[in-house]
Symmetry: D2
Subunit: 396 residues, 4 copies
Amino acid sequence: MTEKAVDAALSALDELKIELPSWGFANTGTRFGKFIQPAAATTIEEKFSDAAQVQAVTGACPTLALHVQWDIPNGLKGVDTVANLSAKFGILAGSINPNVFQDQEYKHGSVGNPDAGIRRKALDHILECVKIAEALGSRDVSPWFADGSNYPGTQNISKRIGYFEQGLKEIHAALKASQRLLVEYKPFEPAFYHTDIADWGMAFLLAKQAGPQAFVLVDTGHHYQAQNIEQIVAWLLHHNMVGGFHFNDRRYADDDLTLGSIDPYQIFRIFHEIRMFEKENGKTADIAYMVDQSHNLKGKIEAMIQTVCTAQELYARAAMVDYERLLQLQEKCSLVDAEETLRGAFWQDTREIVREWRVARGLPENPLEAFRSSGYSERITRERQEKNASLGASYA
Amino acid sequence: MTEKAVDAALSALDELKIELPSWGFANTGTRFGKFIQPAAATTIEEKFSDAAQVQAVTGACPTLALHVQWDIPNGLKGVDTVANLSAKFGILAGSINPNVFQDQEYKHGSVGNPDAGIRRKALDHILECVKIAEALGSRDVSPWFADGSNYPGTQNISKRIGYFEQGLKEIHAALKASQRLLVEYKPFEPAFYHTDIADWGMAFLLAKQAGPQAFVLVDTGHHYQAQNIEQIVAWLLHHNMVGGFHFNDRRYADDDLTLGSIDPYQIFRIFHEIRMFEKENGKTADIAYMVDQSHNLKGKIEAMIQTVCTAQELYARAAMVDYERLLQLQEKCSLVDAEETLRGAFWQDTREIVREWRVARGLPENPLEAFRSSGYSERITRERQEKNASLGASYA
Amino acid sequence: MTEKAVDAALSALDELKIELPSWGFANTGTRFGKFIQPAAATTIEEKFSDAAQVQAVTGACPTLALHVQWDIPNGLKGVDTVANLSAKFGILAGSINPNVFQDQEYKHGSVGNPDAGIRRKALDHILECVKIAEALGSRDVSPWFADGSNYPGTQNISKRIGYFEQGLKEIHAALKASQRLLVEYKPFEPAFYHTDIADWGMAFLLAKQAGPQAFVLVDTGHHYQAQNIEQIVAWLLHHNMVGGFHFNDRRYADDDLTLGSIDPYQIFRIFHEIRMFEKENGKTADIAYMVDQSHNLKGKIEAMIQTVCTAQELYARAAMVDYERLLQLQEKCSLVDAEETLRGAFWQDTREIVREWRVARGLPENPLEAFRSSGYSERITRERQEKNASLGASYA
Amino acid sequence: MTEKAVDAALSALDELKIELPSWGFANTGTRFGKFIQPAAATTIEEKFSDAAQVQAVTGACPTLALHVQWDIPNGLKGVDTVANLSAKFGILAGSINPNVFQDQEYKHGSVGNPDAGIRRKALDHILECVKIAEALGSRDVSPWFADGSNYPGTQNISKRIGYFEQGLKEIHAALKASQRLLVEYKPFEPAFYHTDIADWGMAFLLAKQAGPQAFVLVDTGHHYQAQNIEQIVAWLLHHNMVGGFHFNDRRYADDDLTLGSIDPYQIFRIFHEIRMFEKENGKTADIAYMVDQSHNLKGKIEAMIQTVCTAQELYARAAMVDYERLLQLQEKCSLVDAEETLRGAFWQDTREIVREWRVARGLPENPLEAFRSSGYSERITRERQEKNASLGASYA
């Protein structure tokens, strides 16, 4: 590793901030049942408290994404509580995530529902989220639309495009100048025949029509098998349309596994495309990096720390790519050398560099160990296990 | 349509019996929440009652698959209740389905768990299911193993093969001569990195080692994208290893959509392979056809009736394939003519034939309409909606 | 079938014109070798002659797509020859297909090549194709770009987007007012890591930037596993961006099988989306339907006739969907009824209707039989087999 | 890295032998055309010569897989030539690969063809290959069967299983005691509807029935999307049925990219399963590792050297897994720690260790550089380019 490369890695680490999701500290599962952990968080205070632990040992996670229905069920009236917790735990409110999929009336869609009343209700909820975001000083409103259908013919795909166009325009009109609307796409689940915003092309067109403060959100697990995610990222960057990422990994569907657990080389390549874009354009890409995983069986806080460390190690690798050399080799179509220039950066073991960076910033050298030896886990297990044991987890 | 073909279809319809799943009348959903229907069944009596409605209008569904944990929670002690309901509603107990995935202790596996105590518990439960099946006169014990892992390295794939070999042998040893053990496979979900019985090859080898009364169960939704299911069926038939089917359809993953809703031609081709096997071997394949769907949004009973009708219409098509002609054309590699001989049978609209068959058997001409006009749906909606409204459906 | 539905089918059949590809009469294969047929066409005259046979028996195929490098190797100078053959055989020149993938210098790309000289050569070839199209009275210029790379890092994905934007703009600028540029997308093959125009989103954005006469071409085989093609078509129609189709079917990759051979229900659903769009907007969608198959083993002309008949039968089904009823059921979320309204149209056997339509138009009732009894196949087999036998087919 | 781990890596490198494929030095391409390289090998002598270069700089490739039809077109009569070249270049003849897919008469299958005469011809060719292997002292006969069909109904899947069972038994009966038959599987291409030996289950059953000297060959590119290859390897190892590997990588289909170019973590995990098996059973798995790539655009010899180096670096990582610790963590279901124990070995940069190993064995520290500075590439380019330029590469 050259000194220049190491410096690039260290300064990249300074820049990388990763938002934690409040729901990542809660119990999760599959349709076959939830997996209950005694130490899982069930209140917004517990979620802030747990996030603060991750931030304490990693120093890279200053914000917490909030899910309005689960975390701020009283809506605007609940903002003060959140603000107080934010101050108490030193964690800022991050992106605001509306929920227009959980209520039974959304079973045929929210903003794309054929029923105008349900569309209205969904939009009103999101508009309130915009206000909540404003009140909390959060920049990004990040709705995920589960809208779709399960059987051919049961919904009018075409009309629903129109409903989404109208709805997102209305939401965009309510944004303050400092706010952004992030439009997420996902091929399937919970809808199994068609999902209204199924791929990046659909998200792109809707965001474009909504207005200049709307951008696309890329969830790394929301793609078809074999799809080239880094290429999609390159296209979105090219059009200045990347708003943020939801980090996770997957093997089959939207498995929501921890980042880099299945295909770390792909995550590295995504980071590389972003770094390339930044170097070629001489500016930092304004991207919100967020974790969105469903680490069902791993300890919630441990999984989060592991994810942040993995992201840092892979990001450091991407920062160490010899960009000038790579450009020249690409230009000449020197295939083997160009590939090794990129892959060689991936082969590097950056764990030591990230450790050094931590020490230099006054952070624990080994965040996972630091967390484990803190006694926090034992304490919350004691405090929460009784309450958690009473939670239903059954599918049937 | 030749008269011979129509006769073949009619007699095929006489033979086709389709088992209904008790859980197909209950509320289902995705990991994002259950979809609550006011008329969904929540008790074993309601499930028998609903199944009897399907049988009344289709005449093709004499049995009900039971899920021990959900339907017979008291185990052997609950057998009498089931037997009484069976008599009351004129629906026989069908396959007995153990549940070794729902309890929290199975989160790292059941029969494949590294903990010997948990393996024991899982086996004991299945052994009790064998006895329950015996007591109810059910032939098939049909465990589904959700066993697997979410991350590389976290479980020992190889050792777990051994655990499964031992476990299934023990279960097999407990079977009465009239009983069968059906081994199901599934590539993923709820495990996302490895599933212990992931494909037909693994199920085949385990069943073979378990003993001669063990067979493979093919769930039409449990395959990789693009996998040729009818070819797998042909292989299993060739080795006399098809025990049964779980009918459903899918587009992406194990979507559990209603049969024939996404790719009806494929279901037809599966039926065709079975018919071919039967003709070439001059015997009926001893296959348990069972529905296993998660029709989240369709009315439970309506979806079941629709499924049975679709199965009948597709089965009738398969029965009408001109077998002798097809064989000759295949022999000569007359591609276009062979294909049209098969596909031509699929092109045929068999709805009228199935209607005629129903009338001749004293069944309602249009089962769905007959059900709708029976008033049953309105009655159970009234009776059940209050109880169902109180059910939790939340993910968070 | 109601009279109204049958009338809709008959008038739909009048409208449906399907362009044949010149290369569909030639020998094709896989990378493991070409499959040689004694009667395959190897000259442009033979291709016109064969296409005329398909038109003679189907009456639905008035045009022939031409591949410049293979069919008009002398470029503009070869236009007269083509025009004469067109007149001689009564088949109009259809879409003009440039070839910027076959020459060795395109191995790292054509319009996306890092070498400006190669980009120039590729553009010049396409610009000549625009002129050829003009000279032949062809409306559509339809380049397929095989551009891409095989290994991460070897090409600069981002820069290549820029090259394509520039290139397509230049091509668009050369179009006459009556001409169109069709931009095709394909996920992979022959490039295996990244393909510059990999999906409909990329094709859409490039076409939009190129100018108002640029549209997207949908090849039914160029999608990821499980992708919902009819939804993509709905989106493109919504934005008035569907230029044309390449018809074929597939199971795994871009298999180029004959239309409707693997998943006929999907083709029906695509037709349905188009019909819905036309009804909702009160206008005919201006779409060029073209066959693009690689029926390696089926007789070339037979496969083409089979394809046209299948397309007609499926299109007739789509025309018979009870549109008003479907809209109402979708509006009310009557899932089972809406589904059956759509799928019921698919269940219908339209072969008799298409036969009637043929008879009424003075066409042979059974096109395949008519072709077979014409003696044409025997004649060209005699005439061409010697020449074809000498063709190399080896991979190694 | 502990000393113990480094020692394990060094000794693992001593053991790892990788067979090169003669066809990997020849021009290859896709169905759209071959990519011609001026230095590609076209004769068996050139292939031996090129393989010797790879062996000279890597020391890990003592054998060359031979393709009978391409390399030994005169069959048994050509054995002496091969033996002489083997001696001349110091490269042993490796696995013997029959070709029963290239001749036109195999277009509907070889050993699975409905025509008994063609089945006979195919078997005779393979039987001659067994004799060739014997004469050359090669242990493994490794046929790949492209057999299958493109359209439903056109071939009798079931009968063809029987033909394969008979055929492989006959081949097995001809094996000398020291020989092995390797049965390869592949989901599709060149057949697009069904492939007779499509997955590991089919290969397993056929090999088992053929006899005790038949084993399964795993080509890393011959799987469905998302299939867990290391799990399949674990199953095959468990049944002592792994005969060998064909190394390559893929993103979409059977892309035949260079090993570890797309998903290096997966290759590492495959190696890990093999190492685990060896440790748990205290014996070396008797596996033939072979390269089988179609590096169309990379320099043939360079791509081969790169592949061998990548395999060594990944194999060294697998050798460094702390096996005892991993077993304990798996036993306890310590998910994060178990995962990090495995993935931590992957994170390690083993390039330095492999370099040290090379130096200690008298090999060039950097094989690629050593090859490049040898002048060999320039020489063969001069010598071969004229001949190669005259080769046809066209698809049409």
